[in-house]
Amino acid sequence: MNAAHSTELDALFGNYPLDQAFDEMRRRDGELRPQYRALAETLAGLPADELHRRKQSADLSFLTQGITFTVYGRDEGTERIFPYDLLPRIVTAQEWERIEKGLTQRITALNLFLRDVYSDAKILADHVIPRDLVYSCKHYRRPMKGLQVPRNVYVGVVGSDLLRLNTGEFVVLEDNLRVPSGVSYMLTNRRVMKRTFPQLFNSYGVRPVEHYPQLLLATLRSLAPEGRPEPNIVLLTPGVFNSAYFEHTYLARQMGIDLVEGRDLVTHDNIVYMRTTDGLKRVDVIYRRVDDDFSDPLIFRSDSSLGCAGLFNAYRAGNVTVSNAFGTGLADDKAIYAYVPRMIKYYLDEDPILNNVETFLLGEDKERRHVLANLDKLVVKAVGESGGYGMLIGPHSTAKQREEFARAIEANPRNYIAQPTLDFSRAPCFIGDKLEPRHVDLRPYILYGDKINIVPGGLTRVALERGSLVVNSSQGGGSKDTWVLDS
């Protein structure tokens, strides 16, 4: 890098703080990490307002493409673009190799766990996981017991959230085994990125992610009921008011399959049909983006009209595949999470490649006492919640919030877990006209059909508020493109 560039880079960085947290771009001494050097040079070489211009053009492109999500609790139909940061997050080939192996191992074990619990429940009989922890989970689905699932695959699509600790190590914060979302942002971010920095992208040797829809389709096809060689595959969405509706339409279009709502489906003699202009057409595989609770009013919540009455019985009869299976939320329960390393050992006889975050189970007296005494240092989460709801972040909380949580924990300890407040990694983001560090996580998407496939990269989510640790889009998070390098 020449001297002129380095002054411009200094101007861009301003007083960019570096401390004990891992910075994705720079080492603690301020030196750039090697994989970020070319990016930094490009940034330094751009005229001051050029970044701004590119950012605006990217934002506009998101808006006209309708890449928006719906914010709950506001006027119906409030649409926002998902905030997007121009700078990519770069993952080296070595780092990725470890992530890929670790996730493959982890998802294999989780799937075996689901199969076990919903059949013989050996892991419970062997006292590796406490029985009551499983049966008290609100996502445990008794109707799934003894049901034969195609290829024994319960989780066709998984999105696991990874963090990088200040040692540089990636750890798993949680697994999303129900209806993980966000993959459309991974795909559109990449498209916008290629338009924003074409030469840079080209020179980097980034592994592609664009084939994800094709892989997803192949995965769904491999799970079709036997005897249906040309399966009719559909994507079931809760409808236009769901926050991830854009994603549902995007994936359906990219895969060339029909996007159906519950009201499009009918069941007759345990066969699922969709209403078409040419009469009823049989449905073989449903990629389900509707939660268990809302999927079938006859089995689950009877007040829901988002799903299809009779769907579960058709599923039980083996006439239709639903992916992910019902009841998979059991394995992403935040209390069960604490046992995943033991599951890996139990089913695969291996040591976990990716570690968990240290987790306190509040059902155990000793751990609960420790947590209650240290609420101001810990993060407390409700086990069945996702999307950053039902959370207490100790260091950022008020005494009143802590008191409320303490009371809720005492009332129902099974419902909460606690974890240390993690100083997870930060990456530079383009904020105003400077680079500032923001906390980031990484959600890779894992597809499980006849084998496990992970597209290199995933969605890097960014906590856009300075110092914030919450990256969820529903809580003001944004995203970045993630570049996994070839070599």
Partner: protein, 320 residues
């Protein structure tokens, strides 16, 4: 294709056609009202509202600019342009996977354009220009639809919606305006009725096309003949019904498991009626009743489309 999707495409198309019709009539009326005496303003405005098929709403408040502004931007008013554009976009959003990305982007841009504060400023500054830009957005969408979408069932439902809406709108416009055309009140001077005739043609973008067929010699009979029975002009009712007829035919051929006998008969009857009627016969009888009958039949066809393709009973479908 899914029934719900067909329904949304059909309505997306109808809404856009309706918005376009409203913009055009509004533009023409505002222009005509420059030549209208102050005591006639309200009557002229009400005639336009009636020509848009609205019985209620849009009560005259004395200020043309205000009224026109509401007609474009009042999203709580179902007759307004913005309401129709929002409706079209909402329908498109529900079938986002069925239409092409290019189509969606055009429509989405139109939606953001008309919903932006700049559009309102622009309207205050130069209403005609703003309305022209909205119509441009619609033309772009239609062109994109024809060039980027598979010409399968979905496209045919879009055509069906467009032509039924347009036939209905033109029939309504003619029905409301025909008393003025044939019995100009005594105090109306002839240049006014000339302007009115030009306005009527412009409301259907057909002034230039008319001149090509009949020269600029405007007469009420010929105007009615042109807008009602011309075979080649896309805003003439006959052309629209021919189009709708083709579209239902194509839809039926692409499915083929169940045949919509009643629908085929109804649209075939209207198609034949317009194809084998001369303007002399219409004028000799009761033109208002003739136009009214066309509207009634359009409504009936709409119902049959629903009954056959969208809201059929499961028993009837399983029986096939």
């Amino acid at each position: 294709m899914l029934s719900r999707v067909a329904d949304s495409l059909y309505w997306m198309s109808r809404y856009l056609e309706r918005a376009e019709n409203t913009v055009r009539q509004l533009d023409v009326t505002m222009n005509l009202m420059l030549d209208t005496g102050p005591d006639q303003l309200e009557a002229r405005w009400l005639r336009m509202v009636a020509g848009l098929g609205k019985q209620v709403g849009m009560v005259w408040n004395g200020s043309l600019e205000d009224m026109a502004y509401n007609m474009v931007f009042d999203s709580s008013e179902p007759a307004s342009v913005i309401y129709c554009v929002n409706g079209a976009r909402e329908n498109a959003r529900q079938v986002r996977e069925e239409i092409s990305t290019e189509q969606w982007q055009r429509l989405n841009r139109l939606f953001h354009h008309i919903n932006s504060p700049q559009a309102q400023d622009q309207f205050r500054a130069d209403a005609s220009e703003l309305m022209a830009s909205i119509v441009d957005g619609m033309y772009l969408f239609k062109g994109t639809t024809d060039t980027t979408m598979i010409h399968g069932q979905g496209w045919q439902f879009i055509r069906l919606g467009r032509y039924l809406e347009r036939a209905y709108a033109t029939a309504t416009l003619l029905e409301v305006n025909q008393p003025q055309l044939f019995q100009p009140s005594a105090d109306e001077r002839s240049e006014y009725s000339y302007l009115e005739l030009v306005g009527l043609l412009r409301s259907c973008t057909s002034f230039e096309a008319y001149c090509q067929v009949y020269t600029a010699d405007l007469s009420p009979d010929r105007v009615l003949e042109f807008l009602l029975l011309n075979r080649d002009f896309p805003h003439a009712i006959r052309y629209c019904i021919d189009g709708a007829h083709e579209a239902t035919d194509a839809i039926q051929r692409s499915g083929g498991r169940r045949s919509p006998d009643e629908l085929t008969a109804s649209i075939g009857r209207l198609h034949a009626m317009l194809g084998f009627t001369s303007i002399r016969e219409v004028l000799h009888g009761d033109p208002a009743a003739f136009l009214h009958a066309i509207r009634e039949q359009c409504l009936h066809i709409h119902e049959l489309i629903y009954r056959h393709y969208v809201q059929y009973s499961i028993q009837s479908a399983l029986a096939v």
